[in-house]
């Protein structure tokens, strides 16, 4: 098993992005998917950082792919997708409609926002050119094992969500703008104030969700720290780590040391907890009873 870093979900300053990828290049991850996933309005603010990030990552020996947006509705968003094809890199499809713009025979990756729930879908995507598939986070371990096996039979690596706030939903509505009583078209980029998203708690103060523009995330950070042996036995090829604003290179190093069996799952979880926003871990999609659950010892405030 190795490590893939997914696209950053959040709206960060260009300089922050530049140093993020520079630091990431020095970590032991195998590959990186990058690009704007959540909101096309943000792209002009950091588009110029993309070539530099590709260069620094490739120079460090990382494989690089470019992600599509998660929800394509506007004409200019289709143009953004078309532009991704101009670079000689694999595209990571996170909205199926991007497939129309990928010529037959060109290989691509499938990201976690594409609904790959069964072998029929997995095989159809592989026939169409998929050469790496990250499964949706909500799958159970049983499903993961079936799909990783099917991928292996076809020679296509299957990866699973390894670390990060879970991408639970995408909408046409911008919740950041709504919280500021603004319409999406006049949002004034308020999502930029929250580098790991804006937390949404229940009326009883339970940590629950996090909004990031049009995206809704879990407030807990999903971590497969305690599941790595299970995922290895299931035939999973890679863990996907999703960027957070602080401590991310430490997190990559921590997972790499677990994959190298230098540390235990419990030790990894203990190391991660103070490093993640909100300090709360979850892994319940894999083995239940619900996505928010954590299979290890629950620390701090009960959820």
């Amino acid at each position: 098993m190795d490590l893939t870093v997914g696209p950053n979900f959040f709206f960060w300053e260009a300089e922050t992005i530049r140093s993020f990828y520079r630091d990431l290049a020095a970590t032991p991850v195998a590959r990186v998917a990058l690009g704007e996933l959540v909101c096309s309005k943000r792209l002009p603010f950091w588009r110029d950082e993309i070539p530099a990030a590709i260069e620094v990552l490739q120079a460090a020996g990382k494989e690089v792919a470019l992600t599509t947006l998660a929800l394509l509705t506007l004409r200019r968003e289709r143009k953004i997708t078309a532009d991704l094809m101009d670079l000689d890199l694999p595209v990571e499809v996170n909205d199926l409609s991007a497939l129309v713009q990928i010529p037959e025979g060109r290989h691509f990756w499938v990201g976690p926002l594409v609904n790959v729930y069964n072998e029929g879908t997995l095989r159809w995507l592989i026939r169409r050119g998929a050469r790496r598939i990250c499964l949706p986070p909500e799958l159970t371990l049983d499903s993961v094992a079936v799909l990783a096996g099917a991928g292996r039979d076809e020679g296509v690596p299957v990866e699973v969500w390894g670390h990060g706030r879970l991408p639970l939903a995408i909408s046409a509505r911008c919740y950041h703008a709504r919280l500021h009583d603004r319409a999406k078209d006049s949002c004034q980029f308020v999502c930029g104030k929250d580098p790991d998203g804006r937390d949404v708690d229940t009326m009883d103060g339970q940590q629950f969700l996090t909004v990031n523009g049009v995206q809704t995330l879990s407030q807990s950070t999903a971590s497969m720290a305690l599941k790595i042996d299970d995922l290895h036995s299931a035939g999973v090829a890679a863990l996907r780590l999703s960027p957070q604003s602080r401590n991310f290179d430490d997190i990559c190093i921590a997972y790499a040391s677990r994959l190298a069996r230098e540390t235990s799952g419990a030790a990894l979880a203990a190391r991660l907890r103070p490093l993640v926003p909100g300090g709360n871990l979850s892994d319940g999609f894999l083995s239940g009873p619900a996505g928010a659950a954590w299979s290890g010892e629950r620390m701090g405030k009960p959820n």
Binding site: L71, L72, T73, R75, E77, D95, L96, S97, A98, V100, Q101, L113, N115, Y117, N118, E119, G120, T121, L122, R123, W124, L125, P136, P137, E138, L139, D142, S143, V146, L147, A169, I170, S171, A172, R173, C174, Y175, A177, L179, A183, K184, D185, R198, D199, V200, D201, T202, M203, D204, Q206, F208, V211, T216, S218, G284, F285, G288, A290, G291, A292
Partner: protein
């Protein structure tokens, strides 16, 4: 005239919808293959065959929703549902999953295929992909589009579009939401349920009724006030000192007044949500909407506030059809 596509959770509701003037009725089998997999609802294969015979005898169509995502290792259950729909004489199946669409196109080529809203095909590229790859003939559009966008989509595609006009309103792109399984372990995509009643608990606390879903408090209602069902995305939450319905108010969709615009935008069919609703509700809504599509076809104005009493929490919205909703 625009086709009126109406929900039926039971054979009795299907008969009521047909008798009230539905052009087509959609329904599903009583298992996890359909996205309204609620206890006490839905059809056995025998029910389905009888329902199709009943509808066909009265000039109405039956569309069978097989619109969850087949579970890995369990695809035969979904494949059987397709075969059962065809054997029952269904006019079309409503599908969301790529693997299932591919299977249907290959094994049941004569069975008409509609794309479920759960596939969230929100642009012409996606729709053309499903049309070209799987022979999809109609697409149920996700509730994230404005009327103008629907018109633009229809100019670039050759298949029919069906749009929601009434009933429950998803705030998130359908088929791409795991909020319910995050809180409860059960999701629309995998289990055909959202915010399931099995995971709801109410408790009276200090003069308030707290409604929890999977242990998470979705809202608190003062004693004596009507408490809405704790659907996750319609809950009341707090963020950085602000409290409110952060995702959506407890409203439901009523786009009656937009029917003429939707017709001009090229929509072929109007869909009413609510397979979990009673026969009486279905009959009343169908009768009202049949009158509305007749009025539209005759160029007459839409009746106003015709269904206000039936909307969830007594409040209605036109949702994403207006750009300001975003």
């Amino acid at each position: 005239m625009m086709e009126l596509v109406c929900p039926a959770g039971t054979p009795a509701a299907l008969r009521a919808a047909v008798e009230a003037g539905a052009h087509a009725v959609y329904c599903g089998f009583a298992d996890e293959t359909n996205a309204r997999n609620f206890p006490g609802l839905n059809f056995t294969p025998e029910d389905m065959a009888e329902a199709v015979a009943f509808a066909h005898a009265r000039g109405a169509k039956v569309l069978v929703a097989i619109n969850t995502f087949p579970r890995a290792g369990a695809e035969p259950l979904w494949h059987r549902a397709l075969a059962n729909a065809e054997a029952a004489g269904a006019d079309a199946v409503i599908l969301a999953d790529i693997g299932l669409l591919a299977h249907a196109a290959e094994r049941h080529p004569l069975l008409r295929r509609h794309l479920s809203v759960q596939a969230a095909a929100a642009n012409p590229d996606a729709i053309n992909l499903y049309a070209n790859a799987f022979g999809v003939r109609r697409v149920v559009l996700p509730r994230v589009l404005t009327v103008q966008e629907i018109a633009a989509i229809n100019r670039e595609i050759d298949v029919e579009t069906e749009v929601f006009v009434f009933g429950g309103l998803c705030v998130m792109a359908e088929g791409r939401c795991s909020l319910s399984s995050y809180a409860t372990g059960k999701s629309p995509n995998m289990n055909g349920v959202c915010s399931p009643a099995s995971h709801v608990a109410y408790s009276e606390e200090g003069g308030e009724l707290a409604a929890r879903l999977g242990g998470f408090t979705i809202h608190r209602t003062p004693e004596g006030e009507p408490a809405p069902y704790p659907t996750l995305c319609k809950g009341c939450f707090s963020s950085d000192g602000q409290t409110g319905h952060i995702f959506e108010d407890p409203v439901s969709l009523d786009a009656t007044q937009l029917i003429p615009e939707l017709a001009r935008a090229g929509a072929s069919a109007l869909k009413i949500e609510g397979r979990q609703r009673s026969r009486a509700y279905v009959a009343q809504v169908v009768r009202t909407f049949r009158a509305a599509v007749e009025a539209q076809a005759a160029g007459q104005p839409m009746p106003e506030n015709m269904l206000a009493r039936l909307t969830e929490g007594q409040k209605a919205t036109i949702g994403a059809y207006a750009k300001t909703w975003r």
